[in-house]
């Protein structure tokens, strides 16, 4: 099987991503098109080094699809036209803390707007409001900050900021949001701290600050972000419960998307759900696709929907991790399960270090055990928490059992951190090593011969390190 047949969408993803980098730097559609063309042709040339028959028609189709991306982005990334004033009934879609204030996202007059309100004026998600006020453009990054709020917001469909002059509550949270709020309240009130923190993250996508700090120290912060790991666990559980019937598509799909919505529909969760959905459809049709191609397709669909995802750290971490996992050699058997954690740690280290400042070296060791262990711990804790959540007698005792397991993990992880206290700061060496391993795994997986894979990985690692 040729390089193109194994992962035809990988060059397209590379082209789209690079065109966004170029567009970001130059604000030029022509430059973005040129960037996409160079990226896709470069990768196809590397693919041409395999000794198999070239597929000119497929190559042309890939180039065409690659060039469609920048054209689409030039339209999608244009500034939205905003009214200066809106008035009417609005629905709160999201409410969360934002620094010292509360961030509230409302749908009003067919616009999705964000407002920052003091805690005393905040309202629950799902509430209906009678609104009136000015609409302002979204804020860009502040001086000295890398975080660009406007991109964060646009990736979530928000197009402007709302400065209300009227903000009257018509009705409280309802429907899905009410269920979510009730579940959050039960989790907060009925479970011991470690179980509560892990289940808040896994079920609702909410982070307990203390637990997040601990996982950051251990280098396992990815376990608290709803990702392919969590979505995969849910999908596996549903498939097991439904007897893993081949024709079973509707029920697992519904469970999958219900979970993603419940968990807050973060970029990583959406990417994973799309991938698993593709797998389920492929399985139903009797044509399960390749892992790399499925990841690439999920990434492309998200970028086509909202190109601003490209600048979302969650999207980048998720895509890098998923591509790394999909690129692990198949012939390693059970060892690949052990290698998965450290491999993902290394390939995502530049992103993590670039975002958080430094990553703990202990994560390299801890991730050997973290993925398999939490693959068991999270389902176990979810089941153990149910009696306490339902208020059954003895429920807290059962939950304490799961609490002890998490406490044991915390004790062991702290021990490893004490033994390996070093932090890995962003550096050219880290970036080069991570990019090299990432591209080498990918190129070997898609069938490039060793010299081509080595040459390609070295060139691209150098290129990406220079860009970073």
């Amino acid at each position: 099987m040729t390089f193109l047949a194994r992962a035809p969408l990988l060059p397209v993803l590379a082209a789209w991503s690079f065109s966004l980098v170029v567009f970001d730097l130059t604000a030029s559609c022509l430059a973005a098109l040129a960037g996409a063309l160079l990226a896709v042709v470069g990768l196809l040339c590397l693919g041409g080094m395999s000794r198999e028959r070239p597929w000119p028609a497929l190559a042309l189709a890939i180039i065409g699809l690659s060039l469609a991306g920048p054209v689409l982005f030039c339209f999608r990334l244009a500034a939205p036209s905003l009214p200066s004033f809106v008035s009417g009934e609005g629905k709160v879609l999201l409410e969360r803390s934002w620094g010292g204030r509360r961030l509230v996202v409302v749908d009003v007059s067919e616009l999705r707007l964000v407002s920052f309100v003091p805690a005393r004026r905040t309202v629950a998600a799902g509430s209906r409001l009678d609104l009136e006020g000015k609409v302002l453009p979204l804020r860009g990054p502040r001086d000295g900050e890398t975080f660009d709020f406007s991109r964060w917001a646009r990736a979530r469909g928000i197009i402007g900021e709302f400065s209300p002059s009227r903000w009257d509550l018509l009705s409280g949270g309802s429907g899905w949001h009410r269920w979510r709020g009730a579940l959050e309240e039960r989790l907060l009130l009925n479970l011991p701290p470690l179980v509560r923190g892990h289940l808040l993250a896994a079920w609702l996508g909410l982070r307990d600050p203390d637990l997040a700090e601990s996982h950051r120290r251990w280098g396992t912060a990815h376990l608290l972000a709803v990702s392919g790991f969590h979505v995969g666990l849910v999908a596996a559980a549903v498939l097991v419960l439904t007897g893993s019937r081949r024709e079973g598509l509707v029920l697992p799909s519904l469970a999958l998307w219900a979970y993603v919505l419940l968990a807050g529909a973060a970029a990583s969760a959406l990417r994973a759900a799309l991938m698993i959905q593709l797998y389920l459809v492929g399985r139903r049709l009797g044509r399960p696709g390749g892992g790399i191609n499925a990841v690439a397709l999920a990434g492309l669909l998200l970028l086509a929907w909202r190109p601003w995802w490209f600048w979302d750290v969650g999207w980048r971490l998720s895509m890098t991790a998923a591509l790394t996992l999909a690129a692990l050699p198949e012939n390693l058997g059970a060892r690949s399960f052990l290698l998965a954690g450290p491999a993902v740690w290394l390939t995502t280290a530049p992103l993590s270090a670039g975002t958080f400042g430094a990553v703990p070296l202990a994560g390299l060791v801890l991730n050997l055990a973290a993925l398999p262990l939490f693959g068991l711990l999270l389902p176990l804790a979810s089941v153990a928490a149910l009696p306490a959540l339902w208020g059954w007698a003895g429920g807290p005792i059962v939950a304490t059992f799961a609490e002890d397991l998490f406490a044991f993990w915390a004790w062991a992880a702290d021990g490893v951190v004490r033994f390996v206290p070093a932090l890995v700061a962003p550096s050219a060496l880290l970036f080069s090593a991570a990019f090299f391993v990432f591209f080498l795994l990918l190129f070997r997986k898609v069938g490039l011969p060793s010299p081509a894979a080595l040459g390609g990985a070295t060139s691209l690692a150098l290129f990406c390190s220079l860009l970073s």
Binding site: G35, P118, R120, S163
Partner: protein, 226 residues
């Protein structure tokens, strides 16, 4: 032999593509002329300071400005606050610098059933080392309930517990602030009505008569509501 030659050609072509791609992102900043890049394209990172002054129709272009610069200022140390009284889990908590009282109350598990939510100003500013006491229902407390034994705030005068919302305060309320007379308070209200709400306390400097010194003098007494 022929295969090797073919592979070499393909690899060379790939490297050439990479080279041109690098050239594109490192040398091309939206136009080819040898001049400073425009404010809207290219790695003109220092131009971020001017973004707030760009007219609204340039908002989309503002979005496309690069954000490659890395913050070199270290993240502020978290504050440590002590929460007692009508909360579920009283104790010492670390909160992000700049947080308000509600953050501390949330970290302490929220109000307990006997906690008096009305007696606490959840929007009040916190500061490092603060003791936040949430009164229980019926508990006799000082005004606003916080703190029971007031922790002196370095930058605020004693007793300044209630913050004034610059977006909701009347001219007469604003006139009670130090250094703000009736004329200036009316100017603040007039500015608010003509130009829209203040996004932050710093926005007050857009009112003629309020400079940085005056702003710092009244900052501890102000908050910004929607």
């Amino acid at each position: 032999m022929r295969d090797r030659w073919k592979s070499f050609l393909f690899f060379s072509a790939a490297v050439v593509c990479l080279f041109f791609a690098w050239l594109l992102v490192s040398r091309f900043s939206g136009r080819w002329e040898r001049s400073d890049p425009s404010v809207l394209a290219g790695p003109a990172l220092s131009l971020k300071a001017q973004k707030e002054e760009l007219p609204r129709e340039n908002e989309g272009e503002r979005e496309s400005l690069p954000s490659l610069e890395r913050s070199e200022t270290p993240a502020p140390e978290p504050w440590v606050v002590y929460v007692t009284g009508g909360v579920r889990n009283p104790g010492v908590y670390r909160v992000d610098a700049g947080s308000r009282v509600y953050v501390a109350v949330e970290m302490a598990g929220g109000f307990s059933p006997e906690g008096d939510a009305e007696a606490v100003n959840l929007a009040e500013n916190l500061f490092d080392g603060r003791h936040v006491h949430v009164p229980r229902k019926g508990e006799r407390t000082p005004a606003a309930g916080l703190p029971a034994k007031p922790s002196p705030r370095p930058d605020a005068s004693p007793g300044s517990q209630t913050l004034l919302d610059v977006n909701g305060a009347t001219a007469s309320q604003l006139a009670t602030l130090p250094g703000i007379g009736p004329k200036l308070s009316e100017a603040i209200v007039a500015d608010r009505e003509s130009k829209g709400f203040f996004r932050s306390v710093d926005d007050l400097t857009r009112v003629r008569g309020i400079g940085s010194a005056k702003l710092e003098a009244i900052r501890p007494f102000l908050t910004v509501g929607p």
